[in-house]
């Protein structure tokens, strides 16, 4: 069996396990059969379908989006330190969200969607600004230009967020809580809102998996191999930004997943993007579902922000894999 086949089987198994745990573990233990057992307890069915399942699905979508976007950006920018937040799109989304909280904006017909919609608008505007500015600086949009532009925008927007935090009064807790990330109490409506963007973004990245392989050898080389670099780069930037913006707007800025899941996947199953992209997607989902589970159970009934847990669990896992692989000399 090929390495990638093993990868898919392992990753999917872990995902199924994560979903099972995510659905059944909590303050009330609910057996997994509740999902399909029509004769099950009504309360249990309600907990599973109205509370836990949307939460698990949303955590999965956010984790998957961040991980696949991270994998794509690392390859595109040829930089192992790149993550979904490198481009500054997430800072834009955060500014949108924090501004909503800071100014207490609530648009009547948007209701609870005011914040994610503002956040998405922030992400979209930032993406357009970053890309146009990078293009303005250097028509060829070299990778270095993109990275530097991303740094300029994220640090600027970061200071805008800090400014709002500094000036805020009672919304502080809310803002910090949002920035650390959470997928609790979102319900199916958030899933519905995020899903189309996740599908389109993932699709945009997935159809560029071979192009990403070629671009790992540099833009010139990719061009020689027949890749339409300009077009492909734009597709990847837009796809990745869409995923990042969506993830941030529904859950806050959850760190670590987008940076490390692609690396773990490469360490375990090789760096061919044809597999790194889908495997990162699956593993990102698993990691975030498990982290969410831990965040709501570890000091229950209090819930920790999920962003606190991702690195808390993820870093030791990554360290273990890193150590094992280096020992094997397989890297």
């Amino acid at each position: 069996m090929s390495k990638s086949m093993i990868g898919y089987i392992m990753s999917i198994s872990v995902l199924l396990l994560a979903i099972w745990l995510g659905v059944s573990v909590g303050s009330v233990k609910v057996p997994i059969q509740t999902l399909w057992d029509t004769g099950a307890d009504a309360i249990a069915t309600n907990i599973v379908w109205k509370i836990r399942m949307p939460r698990v699905v949303l955590a999965g979508l956010v984790g998957a989006s961040l991980a696949i976007a991270g994998a794509a950006f690392q390859s595109l920018l040829k930089n192992p330190l790149a993550d979904p937040y490198t481009l500054g799109v997430s800072s834009g989304a955060s500014v949108g969200a924090v501004a909503t909280l800071f100014f207490g904006i609530s648009i009547p017909f948007l209701g609870i969607f005011t914040l994610p919609v503002f956040s998405m608008v922030g992400a979209l505007v930032t993406m357009l600004l970053v890309i146009s500015f990078a293009k303005l600086v250097d028509r060829g949009m070299k990778m270095e230009t993109i990275i530097l532009t991303g740094i300029i925008f994220s640090s600027f927007l970061g200071s805008v967020i800090s400014l709002m935090i500094a000036l805020t009064g009672e919304e502080l807790r809310q803002i910090i809580g949002w920035l650390l990330g959470s997928v609790s109490m979102r319900g199916w409506s958030f899933v519905q809102m995020a899903l189309p963007f996740v599908i389109i973004g993932t699709f945009l990245l997935w159809i560029n998996r071979r192009e990403l392989n070629a671009m790992l050898f540099g833009e010139e080389r990719a061009k020689h191999l027949g890749v339409d670099v300009k077009k492909r780069k734009m597709m990847i930037l837009i796809g990745g930004s869409m995923l990042t913006g969506t993830a941030v707007s529904v859950s806050g800025t959850i760190g670590f997943v987008g940076l490390v899941v692609p690396h773990m996947t490469r360490l375990l199953f090789g760096s061919d993007n044809r597999h790194v992209l889908p495997l990162s997607f699956i593993n990102g989902a698993s990691l975030l579902i498990i982290c969410d589970l831990v965040s709501r159970t570890i000091i229950s009934p209090t819930e920790l922000p999920i962003g606190v847990i991702t690195a808390f669990i993820g870093a030791p896992v990554f360290a273990f894999i890193f150590f094992k692989q280096r020992k094997k000399g397989g890297v």
Binding site: Q74, S75, K78, N79, P80, I207, R210, N213, A214, L216, F217, G218, E220, R221, K223, H224, L225, G226, V227, D228, V229, R266, G270, S271, D272, V331
Partner: protein, 490 residues
């Protein structure tokens, strides 16, 4: 196949390449030469379309470069880049497989048998099959370079552009790689344009060469039209000399260093000779440039030991050279700087004389055995059997001889020898006529290559006069000694 018309281009406002035009035929290998900064790489980037040109056009099979879509262009033209590092490691196989990118289409593009065959063939040609599943970053620079060559070959494009393909390779791999590429041009009619730093490799493998100078074509043509001392010196601003390749009619160049070595001004005299009962030895402290027809190290070269070994009249050996090398080694002479000859006469009968010339002395050594004398003008009449008897003539010069002077010295010495045989009435026993030499005569001309430059050595030049006189006198004396030893005369 490929036509470059008035192409100019560069970075920002600076035109690194100006108004370059040339054509390349199908199956041709064109080498681009030129000093650093002459625009070679820029020209290649303009041809491959990486760098947009300011003016002019590139035509591939009569269609402009711009009219090709990315993948279509990659099907026509493969480019081998200079080596660079990667952020993430790929396996060798994955890297080579990327060469099939332009041949795949659609979202689910599957891996066809044709793709697999192309990748396997490319890995086989570059001898990297055994690394197939290894990670690229674990290979040496040379191995990585071969992986990228395989990637370009897997692209199966009729045009191949190479930027210094032999970078990082040792000579065995340089040869292997260029042999592979050259074979592709012959067997599959692939058209190759390649940048070279090494003029000799370019001359050896390319059908035509293009010499760039300051962004323009200095000259384009066959290697012998391009690799000329005057052109190379003018463009590269370095002192060079051209020589011929031992196997192929392709010119080669060597650098002439301008470093002043602290050499001792050595004058060679008859004192450098030493005669023992086993051999006549001439030993110099510096290497002398030598032309000879000796047993060991014949032809031209630089040597400091010259051995004229006495062998028995009954000496017979299947492999003379090997036996002679063992003999020399026994006496402590290394093959690297020793010229070895053989004679059947007593070494003590060798005639060694020194002659004064205006530029420096010349020394002549002759051993003569004429029992096997031959009249070369009548030799066709009789069947010859190998026999013992040889005249060995050495001429050692304090001075710098040109190539002409070396050959003229051989002629002059041979004429003088023949005259000496006539004077001594040495006859070819088979025809009864005056002999011109023996059937196994050897000659050696050696020069210090320091001091006065001597362009010619014909019989009316200063050196020619002394060679003529000296060889004549020494040969006459040597023959007389020989006759006396044999008891032919009283």
């Amino acid at each position: 196949m490929l036509e470059i018309k008035n192409v100019s281009g560069g970075y920002d406002e600076k035109l690194v390449v100006q108004n370059v035009s040339f054509q390349v035929k199908k199956g041709e290998m064109l080498g681009i030469l030129g000093p650093n900064g002459s625009g070679k790489s820029t020209l290649l980037k303009l041809i491959s379309g990486i760098l947009p040109m300011k003016s002019g056009e590139v035509l591939i099979e009569d269609k402009t470069l711009q009219s090709f879509a990315s993948k279509e262009l990659a099907k026509k033209m493969a480019v081998l880049p200079q080596l660079h590092s990667q952020a993430f490691s790929h396996t060798v196989r994955d890297t080579v497989s990327l060469g099939r990118y332009p041949h795949q289409s659609g979202w689910f593009s599957s891996w066809s048998n044709e793709d697999e065959a192309a990748v396997q063939a490319a890995m086989k040609l570059t001898a990297i099959q055994r690394y197939e599943h290894q990670l690229l970053e674990l290979l040496s620079g040379g191995e990585q370079q071969r992986v990228f060559v395989a990637q370009a070959l897997a692209q199966q494009a009729p045009i191949l552009l190479l930027d210094e393909p032999t970078n990082h390779l040792d000579i065995a791999h340089q040869k292997q790689l260029l042999d592979t590429i050259k074979t592709q041009t012959i067997e599959n009619e692939i058209t190759v344009i390649s940048i070279f730093h090494d003029i000799n490799l370019a001359s050896l493998y390319c059908d035509r060469l293009l010499l760039m100078d300051q962004g323009q074509i200095k000259v384009i043509g066959e290697p012998q039209e391009v690799v000329k001392k005057s052109l190379v010196e003018a463009v590269y601003e370095a002192r060079v000399s051209t020589t011929s390749h031992p196997e192929r009619p392709k010119p080669q160049v060597t650098i002439l260093p301008d470093v002043m070595e602290r050499y001792k001004e050595r004058i060679i005299t008859a004192e450098n000779f030493k005669v023992t009962e086993h051999y006549v030895l001439f030993q110099a402290e510096i290497q002398l440039k030598t032309w000879s027809s000796a047993v060991i190290n014949a032809g031209s070269g630089w040597y400091k030991n010259f051995v004229n070994r006495r062998v028995d009249a009954s000496y017979a050996c299947d492999n003379v050279q090997e036996e002679m090398l063992v003999y020399l080694a026994n006496y402590g002479f290394s093959e690297a700087d020793t010229v070895g000859m053989m004679t059947a006469v007593r070494t003590t009968d060798a005639v060694i004389k020194e002659y004064k010339t205006p530029f420096g002395n010349i020394i002549i050594m002759v051993t003569a055995g004429v029992g096997n004398a031959v009249d070369v003008s009548r030799a066709y009449e009789v069947e010859m059997l190998p026999a013992i008897g040889t005249i060995n003539t050495w001429v050692i010069v304090n001075g710098e001889l040109s190539d002409e002077a070396f050959i003229q010295s051989v002629i002059t010495a041979t004429e003088a020898k023949t005259k000496a045989l006539a004077f001594e009435q040495v006859k070819d026993p088979r025809t009864g006529t005056i002999a011109t030499g023996t059937s196994t005569d050897s000659v050696l001309i050696a020069a210090t290559q320091k001091g006065t430059h001597i362009p010619y050595a014909g019989p009316i030049t200063e050196i020619g006069k002394k060679i003529g006189l000296g060889v004549y006198e020494c040969t006459v004396e040597a023959i007389q000694v020989y006759k006396k030893a044999k008891g032919w005369e009283s």
